[in-house]
């Protein structure tokens, strides 16, 4: 078991990248599916557990199994950022700190979280194939500088009867690199289709074993991808 975990730790990123390569390479192989398409997704995304906003960009492949079932393979990148809310909230309690201490200088940490994820899904289409609902598993690598546990301190002191203020962050626990598995559910609504190009509005919710929950909404542009 330890050996398996160590193997996954070492090669997790490579496994995710291989799945992206297979997404594209699968286009080159003779397909048993009657229809297939390659699409690009751009979505506004909200990392709910960390309260960060950002975007999700991805590549997805869709294969038609039969009239009721489609299989998906996707690869996407999430980028979220936000400013530490504790900094400004704490300084609000200190009246006119800049006037009291002209040497005071402090800025909040900008939290940035980036994720690379891949997975698959199955879906079904409804309402004359305009609405598509699906679900599936995913594997996600995440890198972040937002601590799971931290404190922000404002320290006031007096020097020659002149107030002095300083701020500091104490990082108690942060997991900068994590690999987790999870699942997602999505709903696509097609609103434009012409000459093999489809444009869909998409809504997706995903969760993983790290406790992260991400809600995304945006657009998906998909095209029939004819291979040589």
């Amino acid at each position: 078991m330890n050996a398996v975990c160590n193997f996954i730790r070492k090669y997790s990123l490579m496994l995710i990248l291989i799945s992206l390569v297979s997404t594209i390479k699968a286009q080159t192989q003779r397909s048993i599916f009657s229809e297939k398409a390659l699409g690009f997704t751009v979505e506004y995304s909200r990392q709910q557990r960390q309260s960060l906003s950002g975007i999700l960009m991805g590549v997805n492949q869709e294969f038609k199994v039969n009239n009721k079932l489609w299989v998906h393979h996707f690869f996407s990148i999430t980028l979220h950022s936000g400013v530490d809310p504790l900094h400004d909230a704490a300084l609000k309690n200190v009246i006119n700190v800049a006037l009291q201490d002209p040497y005071f200088k402090s800025s909040p940490i900008k939290f940035i979280t980036a994720g690379i994820q891949s997975g698959g899904a199955v879906s079904s289409k409804f309402l004359s194939e305009k609405v598509q609902l699906g679900a599936g598993p995913l594997i996600r690598y995440q890198t972040t500088n937002k601590p799971d546990d931290y404190t922000f301190n404002v320290v006031g002191s007096s020097f020659s009867n002149v107030p002095r203020y300083s701020t500091s962050y104490q990082i108690n626990s942060v997991r900068p690199h994590t690999l987790s598995v999870g699942g997602l559910i999505f709903a696509d609504v097609e609103f434009y289709k012409r000459k093999g190009v489809e444009v869909k509005a998409t809504l997706m919710y995903q969760f993983d074993t790290r406790g992260d929950r991400i809600l995304s909404t945006g657009f998906k542009i998909q095209k029939t991808y004819r291979k040589i």
């Binding site: 996954i8 730790r9 997790s12 990123l13 990248l17 992206l20 390569v21 594209i24 390479k25 286009q27 080159t28 960009m57 590549v59 990148i77 980028l79 950022s81 400013v83 200088k105 402090s106 800025s107 909040p108 940490i109 900008k110 939290f111 940035i112 979280t113 980036a114 690379i116 890198t143 972040t144 500088n145 799971d148 301190n153 300083s166 701020t167 500091s168 962050y169 104490q170 990082i171 108690n172 626990s173 942060v174 997991r175 900068p176 690199h177 994590t178 690999l179 991808y225 004819r226 291979k227 040589i228």
Partner: protein, 369 residues
């Protein structure tokens, strides 16, 4: 003498050659024949006059033809489906020059004109006479049954049946070689490819490490140049002063030190030049990049009685948009007809002074629009 030896070698190589036209081609041939049958009624009245002209041509004009002269039946109409009926008499024809005959199964961007299996043209009688057998130069289909190469061979004598037809399949571009030695390349029709690149990269002087993931489209310009448009994402991170002796690269591991994070979204249109063999490429391009970073300046002090640090952030790093340049060098490691896998390195710099370097893999797949 050399000519005869060459022709003999060509015969040996072509002996087992079989070309099977696709079913769709024969359907088009059939449709054309049906149309041609209506025209034959008119052509029949012209046949005697044509016979007289041919008799005069072969009796009174010089028998030797220059190498540049095309035979009577050389196709003159280009880029459309044409069928010719051979109206020559059933006698041996003497041609001392060479001409090209091509056949393509599908529509290509750069393709020739007509091909005909020489065994269908050559009569059974002539096939037995090794010295007199002539070969029509033709394009071969190889490499998954499709590739184009040209051989030009002088034909000495051959029989043609009255109802033989030469088929020209419609092409995207006008490129009948008519004896030219340049062979249309099948890869020219596959002028686009989708690239996926993944690099292990460093941001700045190396204190931040991470990855650049990129997807793009490469479009060929001529034989040795291509234009590459792409969208990429950079993710770099590093650990600031903190717990000593602990690697930040361990997955799912918790630390108590300040982490710095930088992400960027960039587009780097590039112009590539390939080596003659096509396995090495070097590219230069512009870089347009939007970047977000966690902080600019900070101070750290140890907490008394513990190994932990506390951090004071003095300056936030604003989001920035910058322009720059990038240099890429790539080497193809593995290649088949549709896909390539290569090794690439790059160097990038921009107006914000962010130097990013990387080494990684590139997967490229060709496709038709």
């Amino acid at each position: 003498m050399d000519k005869k030896r060459f022709e003999r070698e060509m015969e040996q190589q072509m002996h087992d050659f079989r070309l099977r036209p696709a079913e769709s081609v024969w359907q088009q041939v059939e449709q054309r024949i049906k149309k041609e049958k209506k025209r034959r009624f008119i052509l029949w009245w012209m046949f005697p006059s044509l016979l007289i002209l041919v008799y005069i041509f072969y009796t009174y004009l010089p028998k030797t033809l220059t190498d540049d002269t095309l035979p009577v039946l050389a196709p003159t109409v280009k880029n459309e489906i044409v069928m010719y009926n051979d109206t020559l008499p059933m006698e041996t024809q003497q041609f001392k020059d060479s001409f090209s005959v091509f056949f393509v199964e599908e529509k290509f961007d750069n393709c020739g004109s007509v091909i005909k299996n020489p065994e269908e043209i050559l009569s059974d009688d002539l096939a037995k006479k090794e010295d007199e057998v002539g070969f029509l130069p033709m394009a071969e289909i190889e490499n998954d049954k499709r590739s184009l190469s040209e051989r030009t061979v002088s034909s000495s004598a051959f029989h043609r049946k009255l109802d033989d037809t030469m088929i020209i399949v419609q092409c995207a571009e006008n490129s009948i070689p008519s004896g030219a030695l340049a062979a249309p390349q099948i890869t020219d029709s596959l002028s686009r490819q989708l690239n996926f690149n993944a690099y292990y990269s460093f941001h700045g002087s190396g204190d931040l490490s991470g990855t650049l993931l990129e997807i793009g489209q490469e479009r060929k310009i001529g034989k040795r140049y291509s234009f590459y448009t792409n969208l990429g994402v950079t993710i770099h991170s590093g650990q600031e002063i903190g717990s000593a002796g602990v690697s930040p690269l361990r997955l799912n591991y918790a630390y108590n030190a300040l982490q710095s994070q930088t992400i960027g979204v960039q587009a780097t249109p590039m112009l590539y030049r390939y080596s003659k063999r096509g396995d090495i490429k070097i590219g230069v391009g512009l870089a347009a990049r939007y970047q977000m970073g966690s902080f600019n300046a900070y101070g750290a002090s140890s907490i008394s009685g513990s190994a932990q640090y506390q951090y004071s952030i003095y300056e936030a790093q604003p989001n920035s948009f910058s322009l720059g340049y990038r240099i890429n060098v790539g080497l193809i490691l593995l290649e088949n007809r549709k896909n390539k896998l290569g090794l690439e390195i790059f160097f990038q710099n921009d107006t914000e002074g962010d130097v990013i370097t990387g080494l990684g893999l590139s997967f490229q797949t060709k496709y038709k629009k």
